[in-house]
């Protein structure tokens, strides 16, 4: 699903566009606030939905080839998080919706969560 469509669905705002939203096609979603879970199950190309607002979220995304992070519940990203996202070309979005509604809407719209099987 095009990232711009996702932004529309969750009424999202763009904090950092990672050098371009248009080219990004999201193939799966991973929702978690525990980063080792993201590192284990998040698939390359996924959108990460979380409430964590600190730089290690961006590190985890960068390390596991996740192009975009969506902060739910109106979480305000720390300044360090924003600058790292810019630095690493990771797209950083926010939505006022809680995680549950965010996941529900994206799932209803047809997104699924592919698990990386090792």
């Amino acid at each position: 699903m095009e990232l711009s469509k996702i932004i529309e669905i969750v009424h999202g705002a763009v904090v950092s566009d990672g050098g371009g939203i248009d080219a990004i096609d999201i193939t799966s979603v991973c929702s978690a606030d525990l980063l080792s879970n993201v590192l284990r199950y998040g698939k390359g190309g996924a959108l990460l939905v979380t409430c964590l607002n600190q730089p290690q979220v961006i590190r985890s995304a960068e390390i596991s080839d996740i192009p975009a992070v969506l902060l739910a519940l109106g979480a305000i990203p720390e300044t360090d998080m924003i600058s790292l996202a810019r630095d690493k070309n990771i797209i950083l979005l926010t939505t006022q919706l809680p995680m549950y509604t965010t996941c529900g809407l994206l799932y209803t719209a047809g997104l699924r969560s592919c698990v990386e099987e090792l």
Binding site: N37, L39, I63, D65
Partner: protein, 149 residues
């Protein structure tokens, strides 16, 4: 860290130093891409290195992350001074974590780091002396592993 070469290098890690946490693994990932290691392997190495790096920052006092890249394998050795691990079998259990509440509030402490390293690597050795520190050796084959994507 500028003295690191494409084939080997060392990063220094400080316990409790969260500001730059992950920068060693990030730099290692760039190096692996630069020397042309296959994408899926780069991802596995980066994830394992990051978990090991975070464990030093979260659980230990100080440590080093060393890498060596040959045509055959990527080897990562992470050595720390710290409390060590009393029961390695228990520590390897998914979900087992001694991380305090504030670490869990930062997104760590799922008890999945060591199992993740094991899952993502081809060989994983862990040695620990209580009261002294922990050493991990993590190896990734670069040859004949290309079949599984």
């Amino acid at each position: 860290m500028t003295e690191n070469s494409p084939s080997e290098g060392t990063f220094h890690l400080m316990g409790g130093e969260f500001t730059n946490a992950g920068s060693a693994s990030s730099e290692l990932k760039s190096t692996l891409i630069k020397v042309g290691v296959e994408k899926s392997i780069v991802r596995r190495v980066a994830i394992a290195a990051f978990e090991a790096e975070m464990n030093v920052i979260i659980h230990a006092v100080a440590g080093t992350l060393r890498y060596e890249i040959t045509t055959e394998a990527v080897t990562i050795t992470v050595t720390d001074m710290g409390p060590g691990i009393e029961n390695i079998n228990q520590a390897m259990q998914p979900g087992y974590s001694t991380a305090p509440d504030w670490v869990r509030e930062m997104g760590w402490g799922a008890g999945m780091g060591l199992p993740n390293i094991s899952k993502h690597s081809d060989l994983f050795k862990i040695d620990s002396v209580v009261g002294e520190g922990t050493t991990l050796e993590i190896i990734f084959d670069l040859k004949e592993k290309n079949a599984d994507s």
